[in-house]
Structures are given as C-alpha cells and as structure tokens.
Symmetry: C2
Subunit: 150 residues, 2 copies
C-alpha cells in the first residue's frame, strides 16, 4: 500500500496549484488515482456519501480549472473525471488522447500516447484541442461475453 505516499504526493500536487490540502480533496484525488478509467460524478458521490454534493461539484471544477483532472462525457452525457497524466500538469494542456467508452460497462478509459492524425479542417477553423473518442467493448467486458456466449 502506498496510500501515505499518495497522500503526500497529492498534498504536494494541491500545494503546487495553490489549493488547500483538505480531506475531501485528498479523498477525491486518491479515488480518481485508484482507477484506470474515468469516474462519473454519481459514482464519486456513492463512494463519498459524507461529502456534500455541492462541495464535490466545486472540487471537481477547481481541479479541472487547474488542469489536475479532465472531464469527459460518456455515452449518456454524464460527466466523468480522470486524473491528467503528468504531461498534462504542465502549462499546455496535453489532452490529446483517446477516450474509449465501453458500451457494456459504460466505463471511459483514457488511453494516452496516441498518435493523432494531422487534421484536414475546412478553411477558417482554428483547432485548439483534439480528442478522439471511440465506443466499443473494453477488455473486461469482452472477456465476460467470451465466457457467456461462446
């Protein structure tokens, strides 16, 4: 277990962004860090019942503004949040990655380090940020259906 190490890391992370190191914020960070897919706001609520919904909302907003997390909408239009990779914590938001939304479990996986294509935009469109989204079946759900259906 590196919970303490994480707490320390996260405290540092908060300090770097001039955010006070509070219990709710640390819990949100370690929750997000514990998953390899984005977490929906309802899921966060369910796990942290004692944290006020409004507070959670403001925490997530603050984190997003600071570039600590990023938001992605799943197939249902629900906001899901994931920690940004270290490359993202720098100044320039390095959001160019693939979001893979599983149609079975609805998890949104952030798959980084993807080569995005050169864009061929019509005249006048000035792109700032790209992201590629895919829907499909994630490894976990693919395995399940193998067992059940084959």
């Amino acid at each position: 277990m590196n919970a303490n190490k994480n707490k320390y890391q996260f405290g540092d992370l908060l300090a770097r962004h001039h955010l006070k190191k509070t219990e709710p914020r640390l819990r949100v960070l370690s929750m997000l860090a514990s998953k390899n897919f984005a977490t929906s706001q309802p899921d966060l609520e369910d796990v942290m019942l004692d944290i006020d919904r409004g507070t959670l909302y403001r925490i997530l907003n603050a984190f997003e503004e600071k570039g600590i997390i990023h938001k992605v909408f799943d197939l249902n239009g629900t906001a899901n949040y994931a920690l940004c990779k270290s490359s993202c914590e720098e100044n320039h938001h390095h959001d160019e990655h693939l979001h893979f939304n599983c149609v079975v479990c609805n998890n949104v996986y952030c798959l980084d380090d993807l080569d995005l294509p050169a864009l061929n935009l019509p005249a006048g469109f000035q792109p700032m940020n790209l992201s590629l989204s895919a829907t499909g079946i994630c490894p976990k759900c693919g395995k399940k259906s193998d067992i059940t259906e084959n």
Copy 2:
C-alpha cells in the same frame, strides 16, 4: 424557398422509418436541416415553445434510434443534435466524422468526410464507433475577433 420540398422530403424520411408524419416532427426536422451545426435541446425548445418538452425529448430519442439524427455533447455536456448525412441513414451508422466545438459561440459543427486514422488500441479493446472531437474557434467567431482585436 424550398420549405415545401423539405416538408415532402421529410415526410418521406419519416415514412421510411415507420414514424408518423406529425407536425412537431416535421418542425424539428426542418429546424435541424436549416443549420450547419448541431442544435442543443434548449435551443430547440426556445424556438418551438409550443411543443412539449417531453414530446421533444421523445422525438429526439426516436430520431436518434432510427439513425435520422445523431447526438453530440458540447463543452458543457449539453446534448446537441444534428441531422445525419445520407450515408448515415443506411443500416450501418456512418458516424465517423469530426465534431468541432467552438469555444466562443459553443456551436458544434459536424465536419464529415474526414479521414480517420487507423487506431492503435491496446489489446482487448474492440472499437465499434469512432469520432474525433476538436475544440477551437470557428470561422464565424474567428472573423469577429479579427475585426475586434486587430
């Protein structure tokens, strides 16, 4: 004006999908057809105040199921709807296109006929549908800021 022609076309479109040709549905279709960017549900409501919100909701759902329109979430997580191109009305959803979300006016432009890259997914991810999203400044807003700022 080709409003009548459109009405005819849309009636046909509805019939092909076994949807009854009703006033609200035709109005939604011509509204969506009149724009080159996706329209949010609130915007649709504002224009068609006399159409019940629940009805609008069901119309949009029905259209989406039938592949007549597709839904895309803008930067605020609000659902925006746009007519699918003819290629999309066939069986296989041909949703592979670029959604360009302007950070100024918030419009979502559907830019079709884009070459999507071959995906390089980690093992086990089975993609079904791809879409590339970009944020940035659209031609209209780019022009405005030229005038104002230069």
